[in-house]
């Protein structure tokens, strides 16, 4: 059983990502979308939420980071950028999707 978790809230405003990371099983995938992409930036005081969750795979939606003026080279190490096609691929390659709001 593998789950794709999506998170669409900034970790600086809500504790959604922290809840997701706490409750996601080892080996799970987390895709950050919409305001969730801010959480994937390095150098912030909440960057550790992702940095410390080394048993999860993290992805960000490229169009959402571009919309917000964020640059790919400032993402936390190991976070992968996917496009809409990649979002679909993640969806079908996991058994289910859990959307954290």
């Amino acid at each position: 059983m593998s789950i794709l978790h999506t998170v669409n809230k900034s970790t600086y405003e809500r504790d959604t990502l922290e809840a997701c990371v706490r409750l996601a099983a080892k080996g799970g995938s987390v895709l950050l979308i919409e305001d969730g992409v801010y959480s994937a930036m390095s150098g912030g005081n909440k960057s550790s939420v992702i940095e410390n969750a080394s048993d999860l795979s993290f992805y960000v939606l490229g169009p959402d980071i571009k919309a917000r003026g964020l640059s790919e080279d400032r993402l936390i190490d190991g976070v992968k950028v996917v496009d809409y096609k990649g979002f679909v691929e993640l969806t079908v390659s996991n058994d289910s999707v859990s959307a954290w709001l």
Binding site: S10, A67, S71
Partner: protein
């Protein structure tokens, strides 16, 4: 102008995820047309509203970030950014748009609109306002 009031708009939300940022900007521009003394503060995720290089073509949402550059033309030139909010997000002033205004009293000299202030300084600025609107 004696009846001009001091308006402070506090912006605390990231753009695009919710409508608050765009609504605030619209209200600010409407308010500015009435010759009030307008200030803006960007705190918490609100600092993301001013990020440089926003490109929304792939998400199908209007990119309203260029509109902030027009604020100077509406005499909205007191734009406060909370230092603590920037630092918490690993950002510096260089990550934000460079907003300017032209000073009529000094031969239209171009001046910076953005001032980075501490929480304590911002608290004092808030105390001086007549009306505070929060977005």
């Amino acid at each position: 102008m004696s009846d001009a009031k001091k308006f402070m708009y506090i912006n605390r939300k990231a753009p695009y995820g919710t409508i608050y940022a765009w609504e605030s900007l619209e209200v600010v521009l409407i308010g500015a047309a009435f010759d009030q003394e307008v200030s803006l503060a960007f705190v918490d995720d609100g600092v993301y509203q001013l990020m440089k290089g926003q490109d929304t073509t792939e998400v199908g949402i209007k990119n309203f970030s260029p509109t902030y550059a027009a604020l100077g033309d509406y005499d909205v030139n007191k734009i406060y950014i909370e230092k603590e909010s920037l630092e918490a997000r690993g950002l510096t002033l260089d990550d934000l748009q460079h907003l300017v205004w032209e000073d009529e009293d000094e031969d239209w000299a171009e001046k910076d609109s953005i001032r980075v202030v501490t929480s304590a300084e911002l608290a004092e600025i808030f105390e001086q306002q007549d009306i505070t609107l929060s977005f």
